[in-house]
Amino acid sequence: MKRSDIWSGIFWLLISMWVVIESIGFDLGKWGSPGPGLLPFCSGIILALLSLFIIFRAIYKKTDVPAENWFMEIRWKKWSLTLTGLLAYALLLEFLGFILCTLIFMIFLLAFVERQRWIIILLVTVLTAAASYVVFELCLKAQLPKGFLGI
């Protein structure tokens, strides 16, 4: 039916095999006194069967719809830049501190990913940092990290 079903089916099949193998190591228990491995083991088996079903259905079902190639149409550059920004924020938050990290994050997204005008970038960045500081630190007492500068 769909090529994408074959690929996703294979992915879940691999995951399910890994889950089944790991679960055996957790002790399956016996009928009547299930061990910690039973539920993941059964779930893994069911997932494997369903994945196989998806794969075979995709192989044998004929279709007139041309193969979709959404993969080619995606602007991966912007996508991966956004993802990089997210990961960098998560990893650097404790080191840089909330305020510095947020300023850099917002400028990065607005200037390099979205290419907004500088006046908008500065306005949105400052407003966001200030607003989120007020909401999370002052109203919700979230104790955001101060970072190496201590601010």
Binding site: G32, P36, L39, R75, A90, L109, L110, T128, K141, P145
Partner: protein, 500 residues
């Protein structure tokens, strides 16, 4: 009995009409409308975004606010569908068909008006039904032991896949994946660590909030940045919306759809259908079938707006039935509310009515008040929401990301949890691209551990005999229903396939 209900309403009012709770109700419906109007962010993401902000409140206020976001979004979603032809929420997608056509014919005001009034009527009637249905159901559920819970959860899983909007197999797969993710962490009975691999945070299991924010918040942003977003074509950008009150003829045509929509929404909303979406599709289908001019649907029929818009609001109220009586969530938002209750030390389940009547009645009565607030927010203030729609998405999406990041980090001040959220964000992105629904996964993530616990407890009670599930009458009948649905599902789908 009747007097009891009035006493309960009075009690609920006492909880609700405290200035602070009114304020939280207002914040909830305000944020809900905002989120509903904005296409880039969904209800589930918004509710999980605001979850951390409820930690400092008491349980009743927290749930009042989170519930407000949920049903508030059903109001807001229709605005975007009607004016821009982009669904503000998935539950308003069907409204685009006739709502936008009405706007093009100069009846935008009537379309907005009827969806707000329909939502109000649906929400209020649904609230009354909820009050009548919930207490007896909770009393019945008090008799439930672990065996009944196992059967009930199994039935819920079957219903979830049976009623899934997309592929039944894929919904089932996602439910299984959710169960597996729910297994991660330390096993409570034996202390065995499952799938932990030395990562400390995982000892307590994968948190619900990072998973939901990843699957519904981050992934939605990633889906939106991967293509060029066209400038929104606001139909009323130059002219003011006139005549919010539908005329007499339009009212006459709408009253049937509104009443039917309430019924459809209430019933489908209480079942684990993953949200109000199915109820909107059903309502639209029913109205089209009943209409004398089915061919005119899609050209601006007010029935096609009134029915679904009422149904989604009725459903967003009735989905509190299983939550408040059985402690079982029926969609991702309800799962978050369960999480909020647990964080506040309130045990969801049949005992909720007895142990925390303030939560039970306070939330129900807050829905009346919230619906009234929404009517005011959405009719006279419609112009404000239209202005907000004009803010370009490139400015919005960094804000959404930032709120997800800080929200998850501030749960436990742990970097690992933000990383988990990002991983689920990427996973949610590819799931969308490969046509897998995220809702069954979240549903199973909450129910999986409940199922495992209840299953093992039942076997302890019965000394290891599996027959306990069939010997108890309630449990047996629930399992029987589940079995019948499963068979009907397989046979029914095959017949549909053959007809293709």
């Amino acid at each position: 009995m009747e007097q009891n209900i009035w006493q309960n309403i009075l009690y609920g009012l006492q909880v609700c009409v405290v200035p602070m709770n009114l304020l939280y109700c207002f914040i909830g419906v305000l944020v809900g409308t905002l989120v509903g109007v904005l296409p880039g962010i969904g209800t589930t993401a918004a509710v999980s975004l605001l979850l951390p902000s409820t930690f400092s409140l008491n349980a009743a206020s927290a749930v009042i606010m989170l519930a407000g976001i949920y049903y508030g979004a059903q109001y807001g979603g229709s605005t975007t569908s009607i004016l821009v032809n982009i669904p503000g929420e998935a539950t308003s997608a069907i409204t685009c068909l006739d709502g936008y056509q009405m706007a093009r014919k100069g009846r935008a005001g009537a379309a907005l008006g009827i969806s707000a009034f329909g939502s109000f009527i649906g929400g209020t009637l649904s609230c009354i039904l909820l009050m009548v249905v919930a207490p007896p159901l909770a009393n019945m559920a008090l008799k439930f032991g672990p065996a009944e819970y196992v059967s009930l959860i199994i039935l819920a899983f079957v219903l979830l896949t049976y009623l899934a909007a997309g592929s039944m197999i894929k919904a089932l797969m996602m439910a299984v994946v959710g169960v597996i993710i729910g297994c991660i962490g330390m096993d409570l009975i034996t202390g065995t660590k499952r799938f932990v691999y030395g990562i400390l945070v995982l000892n307590d299991g994968v948190g619900l909030v990072p998973v939901i924010m990843g699957l519904f918040g981050i992934s939605e942003v990633l889906l939106n940045v991967d293509h060029e977003i066209q400038a929104r074509d606001l139909y009323t950008s130059n002219s003011k919306i006139k005549g919010l009150l539908p005329n007499l003829e339009e009212w006459k045509r709408s009253i049937g759809p509104i009443l039917r929509g309430t019924g459809i929404g209430f019933i489908l909303g209480a079942l684990p259908t993953g949200g109000a979406i199915v109820s909107t599709l059903t309502s639209y289908g029913v109205e089209k079938r009943l209409s004398k001019h089915p061919e005119k649907f899609g050209t601006g029929m007010i029935e096609g707006v009134a029915g679904p818009e009422t149904a989604n609001n009725a459903a967003s109220t009735s989905c509190f039935v299983p939550l408040l009586t059985l402690g079982i969530p029926q969609n991702a938002v309800m799962a978050i509310i369960i999480g909020a209750l647990i964080i506040h030390g309130v045990q969801p389940g049949p005992l909720l009515l007895k142990n925390s009547p303030d939560v039970f009645w306070g939330v129900i009565v807050s829905m009346y008040i919230g619906n009234a607030m929404l009517l005011i927010l959405n009719l006279p203030l419609i112009g404000m929401w239209v202005k907000i729609l004009k803010i370009p998405y490139p400015i919005f999406f960094p804000l959404i990301l930032l709120f997800c990041l800080i929200g998850v980090y501030s749960l436990n001040n742990m970097t690992t949890e933000t990383i988990i959220m990002i991983i689920f964000g990427v996973m949610g992105y590819f799931m969308k691209k490969f046509d897998y629904e995220a809702a069954p996964l979240v549903f199973a993530l909450v129910l999986g551990p409940m199922l495992e616990m209840a299953f093992r407890q039942s076997l302890l009670l019965s000394n290891g005999s599996l027959s306990i599930f069939l010997k108890k009458p309630i449990s047996a009948s629930l399992l029987l229903t589940a079995g019948m649905l499963l068979i009907m599902g397989i046979v029914g789908r095959r017949r549909v396939n053959k007809e293709d």
